[in-house]
């Protein structure tokens, strides 16, 4: 029968080995040659967009890359689906955007902020998501090149 010290060895050994593999895989997937996100396209505007995204906690209602709230539309492919001018208009709306009856916060963004947000969403929309991009936004499916 297993002894307590064997059980401890199993715990410590398993932890160290899997943790080292985990670090190795992290380095591997962060390597520039394995980039799937078009990292080079992250401009100042995209960074600004991300900042606006975070400081307003859009993720509290919307999901992006499949992460976030489930209350409002997933936004990974929103530029494909709605087009940039429409998205910009939604962000600049002075009254809560709610064509389907569920309210968004009225951000009344200025041009500069709304454009940064659009740039950010454009960058998001071009990430290679291992096939999820086709599922998450079926209405944009036709526009996705194979």
């Amino acid at each position: 029968m297993l002894s307590k010290s064997q059980a401890r060895t199993f715990f410590l050994g398993g932890t160290v080995v899997t943790f080292l593999i985990f670090i190795g895989l992290t380095i591997y997937s962060m390597a520039p040659s394995n980039d799937q996100s078009n990292h080079q396209n992250i401009t100042e505007q995209v960074i600004k967009g991300k900042h606006i995204w975070e400081t307003n906690n859009c993720m509290g209602c919307h999901a992006i890359l499949g992460e976030g709230g489930y209350y409002a539309p997933e936004l990974t492919k929103v530029i494909d689906r709605k087009g940039a001018p429409m998205v910009k208009a939604i962000l600049q709306s002075p009254i809560p955007w709610a064509p389907n009856g569920r309210k968004m916060v009225a951000y009344e963004m200025n041009d500069e902020d709304a454009e940064a947000m659009v740039e950010y969403l454009k960058w998001i929309g071009e990430i290679d998501l291992n096939g999820f991009e086709r599922i998450v936004s079926p209405l944009a499916k036709d526009k996705i090149k194979d």
Partner: protein, 472 residues
């Protein structure tokens, strides 16, 4: 402690010298942590209702508490009160395991108050658009530093007590290790990244490695402590299996992080690694459930605090269902491709958190209260009512969310229906969810009522407590 009852072993002489009437007076600190738990838990539920009503079109609070505020408050309160519960549990368990008083009770109170202040500041900020908009890690970085200081203080007290103590048991070590790792893993969440992909990647080092890694050590430690006390089974046996369980946890859980990396824009290698290892994660929860049930069967069944036993065994079983089975249900890449970021995830999130962490915290509170206050209210019907109403209510909520989730996946992701149109179709399930949530909240209301009825810890009450301590 009475001289005629030499059951406690090594701790016995020690406390006789130190204080004639109680085991370790400093364990009382736990009471105030548990009280804060009750308060924050109640608030968490209020914000849950705000979201539930918003989902069926009753969003009258939108101008003051929009959905994203309610969500951040709901989930952050959950995490904060669970951590408060873990801390309270540690302040209760570590003196007993290490067989000495906490090194400083005063500092423990300072830690509690500062924790409450940081928590309240963060949550107030969420109502004024002050946050960081990263799911579960919404606390602004300025406050993060205060959290770090607070946790360092907590760990200092616990570690000093443990290492100055008479013994370092496996139970105490595993629990402390969980707490230390939890603190360390908070750090990757504080790094700033320009890329949403990298940001998300390291966000999971906190969120996933907490709930499917180090928190399980904390849970395992509390569970082992409770089983030793409640079943009387030999410590060596329980602690051996504790190592096996936490061994399984890390073996599967660390690489299992990959189940969050399938579809966020990183390498496909995670589809295989995450798929295989996260599919093994339920084993740790299965082991935990079997372990608890087996120890219960094996042990003596004469501990008077039945209600603590219910919560303890319940936590082990429900965590297997909520985290193990419902986690497995969407963890394979082929399934997750469709369920990723839908109400299916919300269903699993509720039951996993409930079974694993809420129930274990309620278990340790139920166990500790009669001992801390000296009032033996543990055989009251109310306790059982609270247990069953909250559990059945939560199960109903989870089923409603599950049905909504499956319908959403089918309509939106298979039939290409627009998001908002599909949402309209699942509205009805949120009516059901709210009904079940009412039942759930009634159960929790009774639990909190009982907590209040126990009253405060008093030294006089603790004198009466001798038997309770000795039986335990």
């Amino acid at each position: 402690m009475r001289d005629s009852t030499p059951i406690i072993g090594a701790g016995y002489d020690h406390c006789k010298q130190k204080n004639k009437h109680m085991k370790y007076k400093s364990q009382q600190v736990a009471y105030w942590f548990f009280a804060l738990c009750m308060l924050l838990f109640a608030l968490q539920i209020v914000y849950g209702f705000i979201m539930g009503f918003a989902r069926i079109g009753m969003d009258g609070l939108h101008d003051w508490i929009p959905f994203n505020t309610a969500r951040a408050v709901h989930t952050n309160l959950l995490v904060v009160w669970l951590l408060t519960g873990f801390m309270g549990a540690a302040y209760y368990i570590i003196p007993e395991e290490a067989q000495r008083e906490l090194v400083s009770v005063k500092l423990a109170y300072v830690q509690l108050i500062s924790l409450a202040v940081v928590g309240v500041a963060a949550i107030t900020g969420y109502h004024f658009n002050i946050w960081e908009g990263r799911k579960f890690l919404e606390i602004p970085r300025e406050l993060d530093y205060l959290v770090v200081i607070n946790v360092l203080l907590f760990l200092g007290i616990i570690l000093a007590t443990l290492f100055k103590g008479k013994r370092q048991t496996t139970t105490a070590l595993v629990m402390t290790m969980g707490l230390v790792f939890a603190a360390l893993l908070y750090l990757p969440g504080m790094i700033w990244f320009d890329s949403q992909v990298t940001d998300s990647f390291f966000r999971w080092w906190v969120v996933h490695l907490w709930v499917e890694g180090v928190w399980e050590l904390i849970m395992g430690g509390i569970l082992a402590f409770l089983l030793i006390k409640l079943t009387g089974v030999d410590r060596e046996v329980i602690e051996k299996w504790l190592y096996v369980i936490v061994g399984l946890t890390f073996l599967s859980g660390i690489l299992g992080t990959g189940h969050h990396y399938y579809y966020i824009g990183v390498n496909k290698i995670w589809l295989i690694v995450g798929g295989v290892f996260s599919a093994l994660e339920p084993l740790a929860f299965l082991a935990m459930a079997l372990f608890a049930v087996y120890m219960y069967r094996k042990g003596e069944k004469n501990h008077p605090n039945k209600i603590a036993l219910f919560w303890t065994i319940g936590a082990a079983i429900v965590s297997f269902i909520g985290a193990g089975l419902l986690g497995f249900a969407h963890t394979l890449p082929q399934t997750n491709l469709y369920t990723h970021g839908t109400l299916v995830t919300a269903m699993h999130g509720h039951y996993a958190f409930w079974g694993a962490y809420v129930m274990i915290v309620l278990a340790i509170i139920s166990y500790a209260m009669p001992n801390i206050t000296g009032r033996k209210r543990h055989d009251k019907t109310n306790g059982h009512l609270a247990f069953w109403l909250s559990n059945i209510g939560m199960l109903g909520m989870v089923v409603a969310l599950g049905v909504a989730g499956v319908v959403q996946v089918y309509l939106e992701r298979r039939l290409s229906m627009d998001f908002m149109v599909a949402q309209e179709e699942v509205k009805i399930h949120f009516v059901v969810m709210l009904l079940c949530a009412t039942m759930f909240a009634t159960g929790i209301g009774i639990y909190i009522y009982e907590f209040i009825k126990y009253g405060r810890p008093t030294d006089e009450a603790l004198t009466k407590n001798e038997e309770a301590v000795l039986v335990s």
